[in-house]
Amino acid sequence: MDTLSRRKFLQLSGAAAVGAAAPLLTMEDIAQAASARPLPLGTPILIMVTLYGGNDGLNTVVPYTDPIYFSSRPDISYAPEKVLKLDEQLGLNPAMTGIKSLWDQKKVAIIRGVGYPKPDHSHFTSMAIWQSGAPVSRLNSGWLGRWVESQEIDPMLAISLGSVLPPLLAGEKRSGSSLPLGGLVIPTGTFAKDCQKLAKAASSDNKLMAAAATSMRTLFSVSNTVTPVLKLPAPVADDLPTANGGNAGGDSNLAQQLDVVAKLIAAGSPTRVWSVSLGGFDTHANEANAQAELLGTVSAALSRFSSQMKNTSRGKDIVTMVYSEFGRRVKGNASQGTDHGTAGPVFLIGDRVKGGFYGDQPSLSKLINGDLAVTTDFRDIYSAVLEDVLKTPSEQILTGWKSKGQYF
C-alpha cells in the first residue's frame, strides 16, 4: 500500500479532519462569513480532480469484449463478468460503483482516447503539458491560471486544496489560492496589523519577493472568509447506502478535500474553480489491487460529494472533471504492472453534463509504438469547460485553439 503515495506530486497537508469539535456558528456568523458576496445561485462551479502518476485508462474504462485486451495483459485484465457494463463494448472498473450509478443517471460524460499531439512519456513533462493546456507553445502558466487572470482580482476565485499550489492554477502575474485541509489560521490583534504591513508590495521587490508578499496578503483575505465556514459540519449525504457499519465513502484524503470544498460551496463561497487531487497511479508493479483501490477511492469520494451537494441549492451548478497525465502501455510488463503510455479517458460529471460516450475508443490493433492513438485533443474539453462552464472565451486562454466538444 505504500506504493499508493509513490507519485504524490503535491504533498497534501496531513492536517486533522475538519469540522470536528467546533461549536455550531449562528446564522449571523455564516451570513457574514460567506454571504457578504456569495456566488450568485446558478453560477456554474468547476471541480478539477487530478490523478497523479498516470492512470491506466484501459483498466478504468475496460474494452471487455476485445480479445487483444485480454491477450495483451493476461495478468491484469478484468473478466467481462467483473466489469460494470456501460454498453456492449465498454465497462467500468469493478471498483467504480459510485460513478456507475451517476452514469446510469446520465450525469457522466466519458471522453475516450484523450491526449495531445506528440505524447510525452515523462510524468513531469506530460503533467506540465496537461496543466498548462499548451502542448505546442509550452507555457509556464496553467490554463486555469490564465483564466484567473482574465477575471477581476479575487483571491477566492480559484482555490486548490493542500499547501502547495499546482501549476494548473498558476498565472503569469496572478494565481489561484491554496487552502490546507485544516483551514487557515492567521495572527490576531495588533501583531496581525504588523504582519499585514509585511504583505504590502514594495517597489524594490523582484518577482519572487512580490509573490511572497502576495501570499501573505492572500492568507489574510482568504482566511477571513473561509475560517468560520470550515467550522461548520459538512453537508449531509443522506441517500448513500450504509454498508458494513460504515459510509460507502470511506475516509481518504480525497474525501477530506472534497468535504472542505462541499462546505465552502454550500456556504456560498465566491469560488468558481476548485482543484483537488489524488496520487499513486504510477502502477509499474502489482497494478490490479493498487489501481482498483485508488479508483474506488475516487469513485466513492465523488459520489459522496455529489450526494452531499444534491441537498444544497448549488448541486445543479457543479461540474467535475477527472483527468490524469497519461494512460499506460497496452501490454502489461512482467511485474503485473504497466509502463507509461499515452491516451486515456477523461470524465465530466454533473447535472449540466450530457451523459454518454464521446470521442472514439482507441483501437487496440492500431497501436503507435505499443501505445494507444490519441482520438480527442484535451483542448476540445478545456474549451468546452471554459466556454460552457466558466462562461469565458477560450481561444486566447488556449493560445488560438478553436475546436470545442459538446458535452453540456
Binding site: S5, D194, K207
Partner: protein, 432 residues
Amino acid sequence: METDRLEIARLYHRFGFGPRPGEFKDALTNGLAATKNELLSVPAIDLGAAQIAEPNITNLGPRPDQKTSALIEFNIALRQQVKDLPLWWLDRMALSDHALTERMTWFWHGHWATAIGKLNFAYPMYLQNQTLRKYALGNFGEMATAMLNDGALQFWLDGGDNTVKAPNENLARELMELFVLGVNRYTETDVRELARALTGYQIERSSGKVTFNTKRFDPNVKTILGSTTTFNGTSATAHLVSQPDNAKFISERLWFRFISSLVELPSNNSLEKSFETRDITKLLAALTDSQILSNPSYSIVKAPVEWFVGVARYLKLTPSALKTPAQLLAYLDKLAQVPFSPPNVGGWPTDESWLSSASAQYRIQFAAWLIKQADLSALTAVAPNKRIAWLQDELGVLPFSNRTRLALDGVKSTPAQLLQLAICSPEYVVSA
C-alpha cells in the same frame, strides 16, 4: 561593496544554509574572494558535524509475520528509526561548520529523489544518504555507479522487477530523464533498450543489499544512444555519463536549484566545460563565479527545509533537541518538505510553489515556535532603534525594503516579534 554584499549573501544562503551569528559581518570584512575560497575548501575535520553521533539505525531484517509479538517490537523500532533519520540529518545541516557538504548532499537527495514511504525501511535510506554525502563534491560518474547499486533507489524504481522475461522501464526512464541526461535527449527505443541493460538486479528490502542474478539478466546486444554492444547496468550507466548531454544536464540542474528556476541556463555558459571530467567541485566553482552571482535578476525562493535550517543556524538551535522533535517534523510536513520524503521521483518543486497562502500561514506559526525556544539576548542587548540594521547583517540579507522596514519598525521594541517578522519577510524567504 553592494555587489559584494549580494554575492556573499548568495554564497551563504544558497551554498550553505545561511550565516550563524556574526558570520556574515565577518565575511563582509574578509571580502568576497576569501569567503568563496573558504566555501569551496572542505576542511579535513568538521568539528561541528563531528559532535553529532551517528543515529541508531540498523538493519531490522524482514518484517515478522502478522500476529506475533515480534511484529509489535519491529513496528516500534521501525517507527523510531523513520523519525530519527530526518532529525539526524537536520542536525548535521544545522550544526556543520562547513555547510556546503550538507547543502550538496541535500541537492543530490532531491536529484536522485527517493522516498522512504514505498520502501518503508530506514536503513537503506540511511545508506543512500551516506553515499550521496560521500560523492556530494566528488565525481559524478562514480556517484552514478554507486547509485545504480543503491538498494533504496533500485527498490523505489522497481529495479528488482526488471527481468529478461519482460523489462520494467521505471528505472531506465528516470535514469535518462531525471538523473543523467534530461528529458527528450533520448528516444523511447533508448528507454526500452536501457531497461534491458538494467535487468538482473535483485534487492533485499530491509538491508538494501543489491545482488546480481545472471539468470534474470538479458545478455543480448542492446543499442543505446547509437552504440550497440552487450551493455549491462554498469557499462550502460558509464555510457550515459560519458555523453556531452550529461554535462549539460547536471549544469542545468545545479543552475535550476542554486541560481534560478525562472531564467534558463544561458547557452554560452562556462559550466558545461568545467564539468568535462565530471568533477562536481569544479562545476560548483564555475557556478559561483562572479559573472553569475552578481547578476541581480537571479533570485530564488528558499525551500522549507532551507528556510528552517537557516533559522536554526542563526538561532543556534539543535533540531533534534527542540520541544518536541515530532512537532518539528509536523511543521515541515505542513510546509510539504520532509527530508527522505520527496513527493515524487522528480524531487521537490521550486520557487512560487512554496509561496502559497497556506505556507505563509505555517511559516508564521513555525517561526513563532522556533523563536520561543531560542536565546534572544544578543538581539535584546541592541538598542531598539538599531535593531533593524543589526538584524540585516546578522541574517545576511540585502537591505530591507521600505515596506519591511515599516513593518519591523512597529515591533522593534519586542525582540521576539521583530525576529518573527524578519524571518517571514520577503527579503529572508527569498534569496534575492
